[in-house]
Symmetry: C2
Subunit: 415 residues, 2 copies
């Protein structure tokens, strides 16, 4: 067996123990992890320094370096995150449907863990602890495959968590880190059907698409966000300015940020000039269709076809003038990634139509798309935002890391 197959086998075996571990034991393990992270802060920082030295030498961009860097505050944040997950309700064991059939069979559908979850992610080492904590609390074993830039940091974090798990009385193999950070290990995970129940890629669009296209293991696609805001003729235009500014500028790098503004032609002449100062504050580049550019003149550049399908992740906004809510809906459904879409309107019928007909994980009336987030939605924590329709859609909390089984109590029934 390959090293990854051995990790898979060990994780599967650990998952059998985790599946029936009590809430108290899982919470104690999370607390042990939190304490161990704090106690080993120096070791983690030393490992992180190795990673940082390598990426500085390789000339990685400062913003990527910042995502990789750890300090005492960030380690405290990881420990705090593990404790927050411990404080969440345990999703496992709940009966979500139960009936007694005419023949006397009692049939209950019980929530159970998925089993073994694989996570392929990029440079942020905090994902290592966040993801492990959420998987543990939901009774799943996890195989982590982080990026090579963060390898030493991830390795230190994983070893600390494994030791803490063993101390708490759960299998160390509940959490494993893939040691090979070449493309070969991702490919192997994508086809590890014997041991992996699901694979969640977290990172850029290229990573996610490659995993979804090539994996034999079931995949949950997360975090691709070409999000629209549509400003309807019946909008409160002042409110629309604030929402557009927030959706575009509050954190442009994240997946729930707006990439494309749609404006009803009935109000475009009034709204677009009104909106410009809000975006000037952040020096947002505007890429407009012809009608938009006719209104905004030199403030905008001409959009190309490619702009309508681009997730900028930056202070750039595509702008398009549309003739009413139907055209806005059709445009969202054609060019959106099924993440988050918003309408700003005071028209009851336009709002209902948009909510009903736009096909996305989250659809908003009169609010910023930036709220699509596990914490903001009240799920407590999230492992990602699913943009697919199967299994889970939108922010994924602990319940979305579970499956179910039917438990049937008989007294000799035959069919």
């Amino acid at each position: 067996m390959t090293p990854i197959e051995l990790q898979g086998q060990a994780a599967k075996s650990a998952s059998r123990v985790l599946a029936v571990a009590s809430t108290g034991l899982k919470n104690a393990a999370l607390e042990a992890i939190a304490q161990a992270l704090l106690a080993h802060t120096d070791d983690i920082l030393a490992a992180n320094a190795q990673d940082m030295a390598a990426v500085k030498a390789s000339g990685m961009s400062v913003s990527l370096q910042d995502r990789l860097a750890l300090n005492e505050g960030r380690i405290r944040g990881m420990a705090e995150g593990a404790r927050q997950v411990a404080a969440l309700p345990d999703p496992i064991g709940a009966v979500t449907r139960e009936s007694v059939r005419p023949n006397g069979l009692r049939i209950a559908r019980r929530r159970v863990p998925l089993g073994v979850i694989g996570i392929i992610y990029e440079a942020r080492p905090n994902v290592t602890v966040d993801a492990a904590a959420l998987c543990l609390k939901s009774g799943n074993a996890v195989i982590l495959r982080g990026g090579k830039e963060a390898f030493h940091s991830n390795q230190a974090l994983t070893e600390i968590m494994r030791a803490a798990l063993a101390d708490a009385g759960l299998p160390a193999d509940s959490v494993a880190l893939v040691q090979d950070t070449t493309r070969a290990s991702s490919t192997e995970l994508m086809n590890l059907t014997e041991y992996l129940d699901v694979l969640i890629p977290r990172g850029g669009r290229g990573l996610i698409r490659a995993v979804a296209a090539n994996a034999s293991v079931p995949v949950i696609r997360t975090g691709e966000g070409v999000c629209h805001t549509y400003v309807d003729r019946a909008a409160d235009l002042e409110m629309a300015c604030r929402i557009v500014q927030n959706a575009k500028c509050s954190r442009p790098s994240v997946c729930n940020a707006m990439e494309c503004l749609l404006v009803d032609s009935a109000v475009a002449g009034e709204f677009l000039p009104m909106m410009v100062p809000y975006l000037d504050e952040y020096h947002v580049e505007l890429r407009c269709d012809e009608r938009g550019k006719a209104i905004l003149g030199d403030r905008a550049v001409a959009a190309t076809e490619e702009d309508w399908d681009t997730e900028y992740g930056d202070y750039i906004l595509a702008v398009r003038v549309v003739d009413g809510v139907q055209e806005a809906i059709d445009f969202c459904n054609l060019h959106g990634t099924g993440h988050s879409e918003a309408i700003v309107t005071d028209s009851y019928s336009a709002a209902q139509k948009f909510l009903d007909e736009v096909d996305a994980a989250a659809v908003y009336v009169n609010a910023s798309t930036r709220f699509t987030d596990g914490g903001e939605f009240g799920l407590g924590a999230e492992i990602g935002i699913s943009t697919q329709k199967m299994h889970a859609r939108g922010p994924m909390g602990l319940e979305e890391l579970t499956s179910s089984k039917f438990v049937v109590y008989g007294d000799g029934q035959i069919r």
Copy 2:
């Protein structure tokens, strides 16, 4: 675009209409389909006669011919099936979670259709109507890819349904039949990610495994069943005999039939000889491990390693003696397909342990595995029995053909 891409595009467009169609309209369309099937019985029988002539000439086995053959009674059954689906509750639109956040955002999770469902299936033409009815009621468009043996029958059924849909005011493209029945069309469907939201293979193990391994479209695996029954030392042995007979013999070709009997070594010497007459009635071949064969002598043949992983679908039973419930659980988890597993026992602790630790869609105490079925579980109808953990597990009814979206009502919230 290829013919299948054109069908995909048309189905996606139809799915937008279906997603917001009222329950009344969908039910009226199902009733129109039922009436049209009855009114066109002669056309369906004529098409079926073409298929039957071809398979008779090709020397297809009589049991497969029987699966393909239609008559007035079977057509009435299809029409009745469509009416039964109409009578089921509409899963679409229900709010499954709702909260008002501290900032005043009202967030509701609403049940919505998956979109466009692809179904690849083998020779039984009744699947054409069953699957279409379930997809329609759950607001999904469906692209059907049946086997070549049933092509004329499927074509006649599909044309009748499409005309009935149009008469009822829904898009004819809500239901489509792939015209190419070569392997190329299956391969194309497996990669039709732009239009298909999910692909459900229904048929033999080879088909299901090939689709799961090769599809880029999300797949729901259904109907692979290597099911076990474990007779514990604390079993009522008379009850165990009846359950074993029923699980093996009542319909051995289906996926919830038992393939392997596990017997506790503490009672094997008493139970196995007691059970033989129940299986003699059906001339069941027994393939035993060494300990079982020592008890059953010439009534059994020696099992090979392959037997422990074989879905016979026939009057053949693998038999193995195990040392207690833990070994039984481990054996089920290693060799089962995650479909249905049963324990026969009067031991509370053995029963609980088996229910907790066996990892399968349905786990039984003191009942036949043959009950794993949408109708028997009270779901009304089923599109298949999922043996995977993601999205749906066990019998899949209308709810399992849905996804969700978060609908968020704001009054200007920004983050």
